[in-house]
Symmetry: C2
Subunit: 173 residues, 2 copies
DNA sequence: TGATTATTTCTGTCGTAACAGAATTTATGG
DNA sequence: CCATAAATTCTGTTACGACAGAAATAATCA
């Protein structure tokens, strides 16, 4: 299993970027490899292609499955597990962003709601500080509900909307 | 410099979240502290409030300044440096997202452009793989130009647009 | 210009996460 | 069931980033 130069560059870059997105290199590399692979791959093929330990592949795939980015498949008469990634890029990023909303936005939202309530009762806290917390809360709430709304939009519509770019403002005024 | 309970929670949470966003705890805590502070703070005040080493504050502030999130101010007759954060949340996130675009989206875009060109010339690479690279390139390009367009929209307009949520689709059909 | 205060840079330590390889568990075919 | 293959979990090592404290540098005042 030798990767072509272009595929190798893709996989390596994706691995690098993965580390910036809260996951680790191997996880991101495996996702990239599976995304580009025309057919599902076995763990040992991934080991071979990426030169990582078998155990590492096992752990990483489990993580990818828990995110909902990778699923297991099987071949008749073969007891080994095969894995494939989501292949639709839009779907892929919906899932990723959903995850991040769960892990980051939601906890922040509840912290801010608590903090906003609590700070209002603090007599010796500066008004400006109170206001700042409320502003941040409002921002995160707006972002959060906006995202939930947008997430309901079917992909083709979403694409069209995005292609409009700032022209969208003309319609909405 | 004793932080109120609400402020402390905010700062601690922000620090935690910071680690998920590619920066470190101290940097994020300092930004949070400065964001909430009614007036600019000196390095020694930050040391006191967050219980971190002076050197750590120096490095972190430098990082925040390089991101454009924090700026230095001075007080007449006082040679010490004072620091304040951007206070407009919308502005704050514009800057943050801009940074992330620079560091993540743009490099990925150029990798994908190279990979797309290179892979087309690879005779023994599967058609499906080629297509996947192109799909990813198209997605990132769409996202990138969409962002550039959106970034031009003034904040009040942007707020209104976001409040529309998915109702936006009715206008654009 | 020397003394003092503010700031930055340097150096070493520590904690954490990634990872390899070994050991174990689980599954399947003879 | 036993033997073998596959997959997972466990354990120790390593690499890296965060950070404190020390040392060095820069700025300001007497």
């Amino acid at each position: 299993m030798k990767l072509s130069p272009a595929v190798e560059k893709y996989v390596l870059h994706w691995g690098e970027m993965g580390t910036r997105w809260g996951t680790n290199r191997t996880v991101a590399q495996i996702q990239a490899l599976l995304y580009l692979s025309p057919e599902p791959l076995r763990a040992d093929q991934i080991v071979d292609a990426l030169s990582v330990a078998r155990s590492n592949v096992s752990t990483s795939i489990r993580e990818l499955q828990s995110y909902g980015l990778v699923r297991m498949t099987h071949v008749l008469g073969d007891r080994r597990d095969y894995f494939e990634s989501l292949h639709d890029v839009w779907e892929l990023f919906r899932v990723i962003i959903d995850q991040r909303k769960q892990r980051e936005l939601n906890p922040t939202l509840s912290m801010l709601r608590n903090a906003a309530e609590e700070v209002d009762a603090e007599a010796d806290t500066h008004e400006v500080t109170k206001e700042r917390i409320h502003n941040m809360l409002e921002f995160v709430e707006t972002t959060s509900t906006w995202y939930e709304q947008i997430n309901d939009i079917p992909t083709p519509t979403l694409k069209k909307l995005m292609k409009l770019g700032k022209k969208i403002t003309k319609l909405a005024s």
